[in-house]
Assembly symmetry: C2
Homo-oligomer: 386 residues x 2
């Protein structure tokens, strides 16, 4: 991977060193050796080609920590500007793109509306968006070789195939191949929730956690899970479907064919339809519902409360079953954060079993470019640990 | 671990070879090399001390599979009688014990009633049970060095401490140390559901699965999970608590402080109390309830149906979240298998999301010594992969 053509492969020890410095660095060689179970000599050998290729650097030596502490340590750190990565989230009505550096810091962001979610139209707009991102100020083009794409639905990262994306109405689209042809970049395609989970696991609140969950709240309610240090994929292609846990045996019907699902109570469409029903206003939008609840309409506030409680009950199921070290709750639905938060926490605390209640919940809105940053994080991951 | 004192340690490659042959053998060296990512020479080197110590054997060479297939393969297999392992499940009213061979086949089983679940009384009876098992016919004593103990509740396998076992009313009991002193054996202590899951993962329906779930139905409703190849422990000490997933927002109160939990609807106590309520017979037992339902009492049959549906909804939550390759449903509650099975399946199929419904469910009663075999399996695991 270190060659300019992007075809070289790293030895396992080099991948381990690169990953550790990227996600938890700067780290001294001694500290790397300890945490990776390698000898100091093996760390030095693994790091050498990464330093030579400009991905890693030695920081200035830090002070000795005590008598007999040996040579002062020169921690290894990432060179963030060595390479840039484009990440794009594809939604049915817009493309959101970012350029990130190797530390997954966003350097520039842009978006383009989509008139047509058909594959051809999306690819044309994707090419334009990438030109906008790479040819603007910052001169990112020369050091950008990789693109990550995040799509909702059933995505096979291994083959780059979008098997089914309901919102885009795509079936069996070989997105990796087609996007590579249009852009000339090496493309990685991933499910959007998994991409966001990867970003949190490598560069966010999940760093260093053996287990970690990210819950996204919006039109869909999804969940990315890291267990035993790795993303959970699901043996039958399904995992993280917290939106379709049944939490209310007598609850509303869900589009999935079941009833009382978290998403049927707390998804954006469910919130809107309940708010329309209780106000008698058939044209009401999600923004109207938020405004009414914030303005003191108790009926609509109760709709958000019920939704928050259902989400909290679903999150407790995650905590009771897999016991993540921490859980982040985010997504565009948390623009109504103030209406949901208390009820998410109450629902979680009521249903969490015993010590599971100790699992820290971070509940926060999601900046719009965060999904695109997730796509870029997956692209960085493809460089480091293909 | 190969020395007679049980203190030696295996190299990682030897552990990998031993584990693969034990759980999936007999296997040829070539096949071992392929699946473990080792060279054939490394496999041969790793296997040699295991063969010399009598744990592995070379089977007679099998036929060539075709022209140019090279030397005929001599698959490696376990020597089941090389060493025996005692497994004991400790419940509040009896000890159930088995002697297993290295393949986790039960060679002899025994149980002793407990008049008193206090730690001292249990340890005295444990000593007697082990004498019964090892000094009877079969002459197991000479080749038995290890004991596995399975206890319900919060158990720290690493330290051998039983932090809290509600049914036994034990708090912070250093069970490993105390049992080792009484028995002279090397002791491993594990939570009972995790022990049973280990037995299925290493020697049962979970062999070879990257992910796998075992659901136990009885007084408690528990779940052991293997995800990404390893047992899930829970960062805050809680995992697999399927019994406390909330599946009915308006359901009955649970002893855990929440409401509508699977266990509050389908646990043995819940079944009994609902059957008492609907029949108006306050002295009715679980056996009475089973007899009534089997005899055609529709009210009591409906109690089991509701229970089965709740269990199926909980199982669907497991499938939707972590997507196990397969799920086994068992436990003493499945003595009423005929009353539960259809409803478990219906509940699961209704709530499983998309392809998650493809996850195979094995629903079967559990022979009484199976829990003890789980304890023995954990002891075997401690020999092979400490």
């Amino acid at each position: 991977m270190l060659s300019e053509t992007g075809t070289g492969a790293l030895a396992p020890a080099a991948t381990a060193v690169f990953t550790a410095v990227l996600t938890e660095g700067p780290l001294s060689r001694v500290s790397l050796a300890n945490r990776l179970g390698l000898s100091s000599a093996a760390v030095t050998k693994a790091a050498r080609p990464l330093i030579e290729a400009g991905y890693l650097q030695e920081l200035a030596a830090t002070e000795r920590t005590g008598p007999g502490a040996g040579r002062p340590a020169s921690p290894l750190a990432i060179c963030p500007d060595r390479e840039y990565f484009v990440g794009v989230k594809i939604t049915a009505d817009e493309l959101i793109g970012v350029v990130c550096d190797l530390s997954a810091d966003v350097r520039v962001a842009a978006h383009r509306p989509l008139a047509d979610p058909g594959v051809d139209a999306v690819l044309t707009e994707l090419g334009r968006l990438i030109d906008d991102l790479l040819d603007g100020p910052g001169d990112y083009r020369a050091r950008t070789r990789r693109l990550g794409l995040a799509v909702s639905g059933d995505v096979d990262r291994g083959t780059g195939l979008v098997r089914y994306s309901p919102f885009l109405r795509w079936h069996d689209v070989p997105l990796r191949e087609r996007a590579a042809r249009i852009t000339g970049l090496a493309v990685t395609v991933e499910n959007d929730v998994k991409a966001l989970t990867t970003a949190e696991h490598w560069f966010g609140e999940g760093v260093g956690a053996e287990s970690f969950a990210l819950i996204t709240v919006g039109t869909g309610i999804g969940c990315g899970l890291v267990v035993n240090g790795r993303l959970v994929s699901g043996s039958h292609g399904v995992a993280g479907e917290i939106g379709h846990i049944g939490v209310d045996a007598t609850g509303p019907d869900c589009h999935c064919g079941s009833r009382g699902c978290v998403e049927a109570i707390a998804g954006t469409d469910a919130i809107v339809s309940q708010a329309r029903a209780c106000t008698g206003k058939p044209g009401l939008t999600i923004d109207d519902a938020v405004a009414l609840a914030r303005g003191g309409d108790e009926r609509v506030a109760a709709v958000f409360a019920r939704g928050g409680t259902a989400i909290g009950t679903g999150i407790a199921a995650v905590a009771n079953l897999v016991g993540p070290a921490r859980i982040v709750v985010s997504g565009e639905g948390l623009a109504a954060y103030d209406l949901f938060e208390t009820h998410i926490r109450t629902g979680f605390e009521r249903q969490a079993f015993g010590a599971a209640v100790q699992c820290p919940l971070s509940i926060r809105p999601l900046p719009f470019e965060e999904w695109a940053r997730g796509a870029a994080a997956v692209s960085i991951q493809s460089l480091v640990a293909p």
